[in-house]
Amino acid sequence: MKNLFNIIAISGLMFSFMMPSITRADDQPEEQWETLKEIYFENKTILEDADDWLVIEAPKRAEDAAIVPVHFYSKRPQTDSSYIKSLQIFIDNNPMPYSANFHLSPTLESVDISTRMRIDQYTYIRAVAEMNDGSLHMVKRFVKASGGCSAPAGKDQAAAMARLGKMQIRYRDGGSDEANPVQIVISHPNNSGLQMDLKTRGYIPAHYVEKMVITLDDKVLMDVDTGISISEDPSIRFVLPKGKAGHGLLKAVVTDNQKQIYTIEKQI
């Protein structure tokens, strides 16, 4: 698992060259996915039977190519007998389609996760849930590209670097009766490194977050592999089960591909 994103980086680059530049129709072909499926799931069967319980919420059109809010949730609780072990996210037409992998357990009791992603052309977003029994279930959603001059690049590169590593835990205490939303956000350029450095005329090395581990009182709530499909200043929002709020030390440890580690904790 450690080298997951090295492999992805290489395959992703291959994809960006193979990628057709114009993809317009809503019922666009899915040959991209056929290839991805072979790379990441070999010959395993992926059932497209989860539409009534696993949901991807995303705007119909990416308003800002650099920041597209995407919400994944399951209508089934995470129980010891049946739970999503991992939720793998693909964005077919992104430079690196394999976008995130959320490793989950029954600890969180539910799956209700939001993040922000880069989407600069018409594409499917897919979520493949691997259950504790090993079965695979997929849902997908089509997103149109943004219009005009909205680019996937950051808006202020200098500012992004200046606040690199700054983190926040944001939390709303809904009391014991309500689910409690939590957001972890880290200031990080999360860039692909494909842009030119003007001084050296070489390419800026990629600099992106590759792992986020979120714990409550040392118990892992979520362990996430990430990459450059995640927006600048990566953000993960999830819901703490009722009753879990009000007592516990919430902690997030973030590692980037340059092996820098950033940590934040907060008593909630």
């Binding site: 530049s21 705007p59 308003e63 920041i67 919400h71 001059c149 909205s150």
Partner: protein, 313 residues
């Protein structure tokens, strides 16, 4: 009777083609004088497409005794060429400078048309990096949008760079222009041109008139910049989009400021309540809807961009 009609029609068409020949550029690419020696072409208040050929931003030039400075070259090589033709209808003076107000494609993709004029390209010191970061994306996207109208377009970066708080002055011959760069506002590489002689400010996309402003930088930065610009003593302001403004130019900045203050206040309230971007894009700014062209195309995007910035306050 028949012959008379025919002669009449022929007469009209001769007259018409004579007018066309005289005003070939004026017809295709009209320029309007804002102040003495300052002309602009008003772009279509639309998003770029093959019908408007990407000619959606304001472009133009300033003429001194010795030479000419172009301000923004348009959305394609072909638009740059049309601008050059229109300039040549008015003056044979050399073009010494092409000034880019920022790195958005509708404003600088016409640069290639001025490559052989010997002009020096000027921009904000952060403009080259912004071009490098977005070039391949814009190239694919605008090729797709403009099709044949993208022909000949190149990404030409400025070589004379202006840093924030270090304005430079250029002289066109009895005409001094002050070029000023700003901290991140509309983009991270905005620049304005002030003609000292007529007190005309070329504001680039720091000012949108009638068309909804598009946030691709910092909402707080832009609001601070609006304050700075409003404090200037000016006779005329040329926005990046929309008609030139004269004695009531403050009102145009006020409208823009009001939009940003409105959405900022509403977004802050949502952030404080742990709301999401989606909640914000569904509700913020709706009271401004009737006031702006292209509101539905840009308001949600502006709210999204502002949200992720204001989260760090």
């Amino acid at each position: 009777m028949k012959n008379k009609t025919k002669a009449y029609i022929t007469g009209i068409s001769v007259l018409f083609s004579a007018i066309m020949a005289l005003n070939v550029y004026a017809d295709d690419y009209p320029l309007k004088q804002v102040s003495e020696g300052i002309y602009y072409h008003q772009g279509a208040q639309e998003d770029a497409d093959q019908h408007n050929k990407g000619e959606i931003a304001n472009t133009g030039f300033i003429m001194g005794d010795k030479c000419i400075a172009v301000v923004d070259s348009g959305g394609s090589y072909l638009e740059g060429k049309a601008l050059l033709g229109a300039i040549r209808e008015k003056s044979d003076l050399p073009i010494c400078y092409v000034i880019n107000t920022h790195a958005h494609p509708d404003h600088f993709l016409g640069n290639a048309a001025f490559k052989d004029t010997g002009a020096t390209f000027i921009g904000n010191a952060k403009m080259p990096a912004a071009i490098e970061a977005r070039k391949s994306f814009y190239e694919t996207r605008f090729q797709e949008i403009l099709g044949k109208y993208f022909k000949g377009t190149e990404f030409i970066e400025p070589t004379l760079l202006v840093s924030v708080d270090k304005p430079i002055t250029i002289d066109l011959g009895d005409r001094e222009l002050v070029l000023n760069s700003y901290p991140t506002s509309h983009t991270d590489n905005d620049l304005t041109v002030l003609d000292k002689k007529t007190k005309t400010l070329w504001a680039g996309d720091l000012l949108f008139v009638k068309r909804i402003p598009a946030l691709d930088g910092s909402i707080n930065g832009w609001l601070a910049t609006i304050k700075k610009l409003e404090a200037m003593k000016l006779n005329a302001v040329i926005p990046g989009h929309g008609p030139a403004q004269y004695k009531d130019w403050h009102q145009a900045f006020d409208a823009e400021e009001h939009y940003f203050l409105t959405i900022r206040e509403q977004i802050r309230a949502i952030i404080n309540d742990m709301g999401t971007i989606t909640e914000a894009t569904d509700s913020v700014g709706l009271s401004e809807k009737g006031k702006w062209l292209l509101f539905d195309d840009y308001n949600k995007r502006n709210v999204t961009a502002a949200f992720t910035e204001l989260e760090w306050e």
